[in-house]
């Protein structure tokens, strides 16, 4: 779950990470009132709340010297679209002027060391990938032992290694400590500040914020759940599937084949093999392990409502997922909706026989049962002219 900037700023404020004063605008009516209430000093920056890279270049970040100008920017940006993303909120913050320098700071969970890793660069402001490519020596990393946490010497190392004045040590340590606390408390995959500026008063201030939270930890983060519920999903089927705890993944808009399986490994293999045969997958759905028939019924219904879907491949190799539960759900979904889709079923594993008997009993559906993964792809290829 990637947070929008205003939500990231809220968390920064909560943890005492210095940010600029600001307010959030989400309707055209209260615009002036909100700006006034926040008591902002001009000039200000009006920032569209969308998750796109190069937001400034796309016209999503605008400067205003007067309330009139700010209001004009708000009217121009709110509820419009930036590169296909609807702008539902604006963040208005005071502009930090005459900054001495722009830095980069993030903490991410590193797959290789399985530890939080601090990434720091004196070359802030620009995209960090670009610095990584052009000037890798300018990126300083520290692996943090989760049983040790942030220590004073880390800021010293970051500053010294990047040729900066050690007088910022106290501020940087405080910044790291607060950011790390947020990172741990909110089960973050990434907390990023870019740019982190040293302003005219020699203070470190976060001018932007990116936070990515582990979806699996959402159950213990009620405030983030509330934020997520208000977000408009890119694809309503993703949200609908998520309500039943399924992962719906759009693959190719031109695809006609949908695939359901009980594991992402098998789904990847299906996509690989179908693509290899020159056919296209539109969307896949991961049942995960141990789904029951009533939930599987919903999974099939959601997947079949994918626009352009002409075929459904059900490929189950059940361990903790039982074939009888799957077949029961498939039967309910297909018989209820009078589907005209091509359905190919492959079932193996726990309670296979009961499952296959149930599949055989499904009436009035163009359904074929096959024994293996290879045969699944062949059955689809044989019906290629109808896809």
């Amino acid at each position: 779950m990637k947070l929008l900037e205003y939500k990231a700023k809220e968390l920064f404020d909560k943890y005492g990470v210095p940010t600029m004063n600001g307010c959030v605008i989400d309707s055209s009516e209260n615009m002036e009132g909100e700006i006034e209430k926040a008591g902002l000093t001009y000039p200000v920056v009006v920032k569209a709340q969308v998750q796109i890279g190069g937001r400034g270049k796309a016209g999503g970040i605008r400067f205003a010297d007067t309330p009139q100008e700010a209001k004009k920017h708000c009217e121009d940006l709110l509820f419009t679209e930036l590169r296909g993303y609807k702008v539902n909120q604006l963040l208005i913050v005071e502009k930090s002027e005459n900054n001495k320098t722009e830095l980069y700071l993030s903490i991410m969970l590193d797959r290789l060391t399985k530890c939080p890793i601090i990434i720091f660069s004196a070359n802030g402001g620009m995209e960090i990938e670009q610095t990584a490519k052009e000037d890798p020596d300018k990126i300083i990393k520290i692996v943090v032992d989760p049983f040790v946490g942030i220590k004073d010497y880390m800021a010293t190392y970051l500053l010294s290694k990047s040729g900066m004045d050690l007088s910022y040590k106290k501020q940087l340590t405080a910044m790291l400590t607060k950011l790390y606390a947020a990172f741990m408390d909110y089960s973050c995959m990434l907390v990023e500040i870019n740019p982190l500026v040293i302003n005219a008063e020699d203070q470190l201030v976060a001018l932007d914020g990116k936070i990515d939270i582990d979806d699996s930890a959402m159950f213990r983060l009620p405030d983030i759940q509330e934020f997520a519920a208000k977000l408009q999903p890119d694809n309503p089927l993703i949200k609908e599937a998520a309500e039943y705890n399924f992962l719906y993944i759009p693959v190719d808009e031109e695809g006609t084949i949908t695939v359901v399986s009980n594991g992402s490994g098998m789904l990847m293999s299906c996509i690989d093999l179908i693509s290899k045969e020159g056919m296209k997958v539109s969307a896949v759905l991961d049942l995960g392990g141990g789904a029951t028939s009533d939930r599987i019924k919903e999974a099939i219904r959601i997947l079949l409502s994918t626009p352009g879907a002409k075929a459904l491949l059900i490929n189950i190799f059940g361990g903790i997922t039982r074939c009888d539960e799957v077949a029961g759900g498939v039967k309910m979904a297909l018989e209820e909706a009078h589907q005209d889709k091509i359905v190919v079923v492959r079932m193996e594993g726990t309670n296979k026989e009961i499952g296959l008997a149930t599949i055989d009993s499904i009436k009035d559906v163009d359904i074929v049962s096959v024994p293996g993964l290879r045969e699944c792809v062949k059955a689809l290829a044989d019906r290629r002219d109808r896809l």
Binding site: E129, L190, D214, D215, I249, G265, S269, G288, G290, I320
Partner: protein, 294 residues
């Protein structure tokens, strides 16, 4: 022989009274696993499938002499269950649940390493030494005893491969589900020395997928230290792009680590046979068999 678990392994099931715990306890016992007890707090004194239930891992270990545990509790309770098992002195811990918070697993991973505990999963089917014992939820009937070790990040791709192996008369020594999560308790490279040392394992199949660098690490080890033939499959070549973590995530992968192409290049460079489908794995194994190598 086999690696990690065999007929002598004494297993307990944490979460034994739950829907999955009790069902798979029955399945494991039917397969021949020595399930000696189970743990569900508050249900101590009961019995499931004829084995005693205890309130805590410590009590279960004292009463049964268990030396391994399989954890069937929901994801949100996994961290506590793993910590309890490690604290009680358990040296082999199998975790099953999917959707375990990555931070929870980060904690468990480092705790296990510090205490010298072998931790497997999460998001894993467990481990099976065919014909001997299994700890996990895989159906047992399509596994067969033999000389090929299997390690997989995906349960379903492993089942698919193993069933075809069995159908083609190629048995397995031990099959390990390393799990599909971002932080697996044990990765491919840590299992290779065990397979190398096992005289009954003649070849190894690695079923990997895109993301991370576990396959690259395995390749580097194989190149220097592994003498047996290895066959690998990397799933996800055509998976939809753009599900990355954002800017900082791209730093560690700026060199291409994580893509199927990068992994296959590393594996090929280490002399590993790279397959492009499960069928292709079987074809390669049949060739090895014809050459008398397995």
């Amino acid at each position: 022989m086999s690696i990690l678990i065999d007929e002598s392994t004494r297993l307990i099931v944490q979460g034994i009274t739950g829907r999955e715990g009790s069902y798979h306890t029955e399945q494991m016992i039917k397969y021949g696993t020595k399930v000696v007890g189970g743990v569900t707090p508050g249900k101590g004194g009961q019995e499931v499938c004829g084995v005693p239930v205890f309130n805590s891992v410590k009590e279960a270990m004292a009463a049964t002499g268990a030396d391994a545990t399989v954890i069937f509790v929901p994801a949100k309770f996994m961290k506590d269950s793993v910590m309890e098992a490690i604290d009680a002195g358990m040296k082999m811990v199998f975790t099953i649940a999917e959707h375990v918070p990555v931070h929870d697993m980060m904690y468990c991973y480092h705790l296990a390493k510090a205490r010298g505990v072998k931790l497997f999963g999460p998001n894993s089917f467990g481990v099976i030494s065919p014909g001997k014992t299994k700890a996990g939820f895989m159906a047992g009937y399509f596994f067969s005893q033999g000389s090929v070790g299997v390690m997989s990040r995906s349960a379903t791709n492993c089942y698919e491969t193993v069933k075809m192996m069995t159908d083609n008369g190629i048995g397995q020594s031990t099959c390990v589900g390393v799990g599909g999560d971002m932080i697996p308790g044990t990765t491919f490279v840590e299992l290779l020395p065990d397979f190398e040392a096992d005289p009954d394992t003649k070849a190894v199949v690695i079923i990997g997928e895109i993301g991370g660098s576990e396959e690259e690490l395995a390749a580097a080890y194989i190149k220097e230290h592994f003498s047996k033939p290895v066959v690998a499959l990397i799933a996800g070549k055509n998976a939809p792009k753009g599900r990355s973590m954002g800017h900082a995530g791209a730093i560690v992968s700026a060199d291409g680590t994580g893509s199927a192409e990068h992994k296959e290049r590393a594996l090929r460079d280490a002399g590993v046979y790279c397959a492009d489908s499960t069928q292709h794995i079987i074809d390669i194994l049949l060739d090895l068999k014809a050459e008398g190598k397995i």
